[in-house]
Amino acid sequence: MNTVTAPTTKATALVVDDSMSQRLLLGHMLEELGYNVTTANNGELALEQFKKERPDIIFMDIEMPVMDGIDAVRAMRKILGDDFIPIIFVTGGASEKYLDDCIEVGGDDFIRKPFNATILSAKTRSLLRIKELYDEQIIQKRKIEAFMAIEGQEQETAAMLNENIVKAGFMESPNIRAELSPMAMFNGDILLCSYTPANKLNVLLGDFTGHGITASVAAAPASEIFYGMTAKGFGIREITEEINTKLNKLLPPNMFLAATLVCLDRETHNISTITCGLPDHFLFNKELGEIKTLVSNNLPLGIVPSKDLDLTEEHTEVTSQHRLFMFTDGVIETENAAGEPFDFDGVKACLTTDQDIDSFDAVLAALEKHQGSQGQQDDITCVRLTCDFDHGKWDIHEDIKKVVTMEPSNWKVSSTMDYNTLKRLNPVPAMVNSLMEIQGLLPFRESIFLVITELFVNSLDHGLLGLDSSLKDSPDGFAKFFELKQERLDNLTTGDIKLIFSHQPQEGGDGGILTIRIQDTGNGFDEQAVYSEILDNQLYSGRGIKLIRQLCESLEYSDGGRKAVAVFNWKNEE
């Protein structure tokens, strides 16, 4: 029940006194001052009247039959609770001894008999003014309370929705250990993690500007892009560009996403990173104690259009002893009691070659010790990516064993990518997807993806770009190779790659034959040389032409390496 009334032009005063003459006198004076007056001749009647219709101010005698003024006021205050009605006790003669009780039960002021009109007017006006202020306050307070209750509910719902979207494609990986501690219900930090069809592990660590709801609204579109594109086999460069494009359109100019994208590839034992505005990361070799610092090379995402974003991708060869430590700025900026930040040195000091000590635990413990009783000051996220290729869910996509439902049929598609297209995108995921759409070859997606990727990479690297794969033999071979590849790709001014896919049913069987033809306009390459090199190098023996031969029925190179035909047979499993 809301008993707070807006200030009216004519306030009502309730006069309570057992003496009729006193009631008449005070009532008359108040009417003269411009107030409405109601009266009661004892505390009990006053209380009844008070319950029926709230006055704006009460004048209360102390000693009365049935119920005295003290008890009446005590009862009224109890009913009023948060609400406020000024109560003035009328005193005089013997009743002065009750003054303490009057204050105790909630009287606001006293007025002495005989009444002085000026004092009466002043006291009444000032108390009514206080009531007016109080009423305004309480109306606002209740509005805020109601608003906060709704707000709280909505936040909870939104937080749940957000969490569901961000977590939707999240694949728990034993290679990832993360510590996320949100400051508010919403977190400005995001960690996304998923495997591509070729079983590469993609990871995104991000930190949106600010905290709370505004910081996390863009988490949903960013994670949808990440999971969607990872599932389709896109690389982290394409994913980064796509997220940047989306955020650039979506976010106001003062908001952005500082992020790092990582791709861990078991086939090449390579870690690729694109760093966009997060503090330094550390790639630590647990065995040798070496620390490689990965500094941010790019603008945060969502600031400039993707065409102006000249992304730098870093490649590093790793062993199972490598761990990548990544942090958002909350970690580095966490202050101790003296106001000093935790800083990079605080992190580095915790990285140890002692096999009995978990460096990640050490960082967390040191951070907690550093912040002491200060408590957490920002969203804090710490992530460790262990480059362990022997354990974990590396073959996660082999679980897909759905049977093709569409009858094998005859079809043929072809596409040609010119040098300009090849500079901008990796066409393999999109092509594999369209093959899946046509024939529904999902159970074989993985194999088909690998075959087309290898054919395509050979045509591009050795055909069009003329790269020598023996480059990969040197100590930091892959990194050099990638660097040179990027350089030649940037300078490419001619050439194209054509892919032709044709499909036909198996004769008399439940299955089909997919023939993949690829040709490029490059100078060709010696496929035997590339092949034997791969055979010599045990580390990469899972790759390249050997891999295609294993997966396909046949593989023929012709025209000096410029043309290749691979035949892939498939059969439904019973």
Binding site: G210, P253, N254, F256, A258, L278, S296, L299, E333
Partner: protein, 100 residues
Amino acid sequence: MSVTSSISGNKLTINISGRFDFSVHQDFRAAIDSIAENNINSTTVDLRTTEYIDSSALGMLLMLKNKMGDSKEAVSIINSGPDVKKIFEIANFAQLFDLR
């Protein structure tokens, strides 16, 4: 913590003292609100007395850049201390602003 600004001709200078974070965003907004009406074509942000900046400060600088148009020379950020410089480095803001 305060933001002071002065205009001379077509040039706006903004000084931020103390912490450059969300707490000054209204003052900062007010300082850059008059850019269009005063035909400002160059803005200098002087961080000589700035102790600290965070990502919302980066956001405010982007807002300023947005108002000033595409040219990298339109906004100069001067007198950054080492801690502040590090933050700009991480964000690669040298691509967007004239950092001195």
